[in-house]
């Protein structure tokens, strides 16, 4: 058969602007690390970044660095460096890839941003275990290695209702971080500054929500694969004006697409929900695989995890505690089922793909019967694919392709 032209994902014009603000962010971090007057904090991706920003810290997010290691396909060769030190190949491959990169003295930042050699040296490491225990272990390794303080929040887990008792707990833990951070930064926490930062985070998150919800339109103007790239500012620059400005620009472009009836995928036939982490080293291949099947993977739990409607400038610390406890990942399966069910309806989904990531149990929601329960309740078919976020040794491209093609065949069959 003559090869047919495969449908492609439509390019987002605002990408250039996003790359610019991300570059500015990384250069500023690099300068902060070299400056005798500025301080650098490392923070988990859903850690108390607003608190750190309001206190003047330049904030580095190791998860962002680890995702870059994955996307550049550097991770798989670096993970064994950590494995040989006793960090199992079964644990978080963000952790093992990032520590491996440190040990080998390499970083994707060096290639992307001339003049930057490595992530900035930290003055303090601040974690929140709302995602998993691994972030604490990850930061603790650096604390021992670099001899810097490591402080954090141990979040409760697997709850359905977010009660005052839980919020009080995290709120108190967050307040307890302040004296140490004041000592390291050499400045007192200015509550007005924190309020401004939380207000900007709220604005950023609200815009990010609107960006993602454009995909509820048919055809969807953006995909999950776009989301994984464009969520960068929502992760590393929330609380800043640059992030707010950027998402206004992106939203305007997507609204134009909606007005013009343009979808991200040419001839969208199937609307897919992605549950779990992306396979960072296979973003392009997966995007092309789905586009070629005229399937739009248009919404995900993962990208939606940086929507925090609870931020409230009037009550900044408590609202941060609430926002960071509202996360999908930290909730019970009962909550997760209800959440995904309403998303399926809102985005008019035909099928769900669960990525069972070998080294990320907390982001792999196919292990306790959730897909079967949801399929029974909603009638929407699902597929579980095995893989990993960063460790490509756990990924089988042929199995993924066969499974995805067979799943789309199944959706087509049922439609006839």
């Amino acid at each position: 058969m003559a090869p047919e032209k495969q449908p492609q994902r439509k390019k987002i014009e605002a990408t250039g602007q996003m790359m610019q603000i991300m570059a500015d962010y990384f250069y500023d971090l690099n300068e902060a690390a070299a400056s005798p007057t500025r301080k650098v904090a490392w923070c988990t991706s859903v850690g108390p970044a607003e608190l750190l920003r309001a206190m003047g810290f330049a904030v580095h997010f190791p998860e962002n660095h680890a995702a870059m290691l994955g996307a550049t396909r550097m991770a798989t060769e670096l993970i064994p460096e950590a494995n040989t030190m006793g960090y199992s190949p079964e644990i978080c491959s963000y952790l093992t890839a990032d520590i491996g990169a440190y040990l080998k003295g390499v970083s994707p930042l060096a290639k992307a941003y001339p003049g930057i050699d490595a992530p900035p040296q930290p003055d303090v490491l601040v974690y929140n275990t709302n995602q998993c225990r691994d972030v604490q272990d990850w930061f603790s390794w650096y604390a021992r290695e670099l001899k810097v303080p490591c402080i954090g929040i141990s979040s409760p887990k697997n709850f359905t209702e977010l009660t005052d008792i839980l919020i009080d707990d995290v709120c108190q833990q967050m307040e307890a971080l302040i004296p140490t951070l004041e000592e390291i930064s050499g400045t007192k926490l200015d509550m007005a500054k924190l309020q401004e930062t939380v207000a900007r985070s709220r604005e950023c998150t609200e815009l990010w929500r609107q960006v993602l919800e454009t995909a509820a339109n048919t055809p969807a103007p953006l995909t999950f694969f776009d989301g994984t790239i464009h969520m960068g500012p929502a992760v590393v620059l929330r609380g800043t004006q640059q992030a707010v400005d950027y998402y206004q620009q992106l939203l305007a472009e997507l609204q134009q697409r909606i007005a013009a009836g343009e979808g991200a995928i040419e001839g969208e036939q199937h609307r897919i929900y992605w549950e779990g982490m992306p396979v960072w080293g296979r973003l392009r291949q997966h995007s092309e695989l789905f586009a070629g099947l005229q399937a739009s993977v248009l919404v995900s739990t993962y990208c939606s995890s940086w929507i925090f409607p609870d931020f409230d400038a009037a009550d900044p610390i408590r609202s941060m505690a609430k926002a960071y406890l509202s996360l999908f990942i930290v909730r019970s399966d009962a909550y997760k089922e209800a959440y995904i069910t309403q998303m399926l309806k809102k985005f008019k989904i035909d099928g769900i793909i669960y990525h069972d990531a070998k080294t990320c149990p907390c982001n792999s929601n196919s292990r306790y019967g959730l897909p079967q329960r949801l399929e029974q309740q909603t009638g929407i078919p699902s597929l579980v694919i095995s893989g990993d976020l960063n460790d490509l040794r756990c990924v089988s491209d042929e199995q993924t392709r066969t499974n995805v093609e067979a799943f789309i065949e199944q959706l087509e069959e049922k439609r006839c």
Partner: protein
């Protein structure tokens, strides 16, 4: 009804299977060969053999569909390739047109496919990246025991006792096998345990509906596995006349349908 002959090619990781059917879906010719390292060449040899058996000339082929891991490696197909999951489903439903659970045990992977009464897929599952329960597991055990694959079925059937293997990991299972040999356990009992382990691993993948079909090369060459599966499931299972050919048959049926759509 479309006139002519239809070809289905199933280029599996272990074996290549080709069938030729007529417009009534009747099997006229077939061939099976080890896939080897040149999928295209193997497919061409199987095609010639199956056409010759069917008494059909190449120019009489109305349509051809490929499936399996090497589905994109052949040049003489005329229609869009289909996944082996779709083709096994289509082939088995052609043999047994009712709501089914299909258990396909292949050389490299296993599949459990559920069909509704119209033959449409409700769900499917493939094994994880692991050899447990696959033909590859059997091949590894055959090598460890230094017993040809072709002799394993009869040995398992003759066994008067069974040594169960506890692990689902092929490497751990091999260690268990060696340990049992060291302790002087009868080889036939070990092989029966290996068969039992294969069926157990497959049945663990998903719940079964009432009518169960077994397909794939492993059951085609090891009929004792079918008996063992029936014992474990607690009821008779359905077996196509040519269990190894259901994927290729499904591909040929897809070829027939594609041509009728165009007409």
């Amino acid at each position: 009804m479309t006139q002519g002959f239809f070809v289905g090619l199933d280029l599996g990781a272990s074996r290549t299977k080709v069938v030729v059917i007529d417009d009534q879906g009747r099997l006229l010719g077939h061939a099976v060969k080890k896939s080897g390292i040149n999928f295209a060449a193997t497919a061409a040899i199987c095609l010639e053999a199956s056409l010759s058996q069917a008494g059909v000339k190449r120019e009489e082929i109305a349509a051809a569909v490929a499936t399996g891991y090497g589905r994109n490696n052949v040049v003489f197909i005329t229609e869009q390739s289909k996944t082996e999951i779709g083709c096994h489903a289509r082939g088995c439903f052609h043999c047994f047109p009712t709501a089914l659970t299909i258990i396909d045990i292949g050389g490299q992977d296993n599949k459990i496919i559920k069909l509704d009464a119209q033959g449409k897929r409700d769900s499917f599952k493939m094994n994880r990246k692991c050899a447990a329960g696959t033909g590859a597991f059997l091949e590894e055990m055959s090598a460890r025991l230094d017993i040809p694959l072709t002799e394993m079925n009869d040995l398992a059937r003759q066994a008067t006792e069974m040594i169960k293997l506890g692990s689902y990991c092929t490497v751990f299972s091999a260690t268990e096998v060696l340990e049992n040999i060291r302790h002087g356990k009868p080889v036939a009992a070990i092989i029966k345990g290996i068969f039992y382990s294969m069926i157990q691993r497959v049945l663990e993948m998903d719940a079964l509906t009432e009518k169960v079909v077994l397909s794939g090369g492993v059951v085609a060459h090891n009929p004792y596995l079918v008996e063992m599966a029936e014992e474990l499931i607690g009821r008779q299972v359905l077996l196509p006349e040519f269990p190894q050919l259901t994927g290729a048959l499904g591909a040929a049926l897809y070829a027939r349908e594609a041509t009728s759509c165009e007409v």
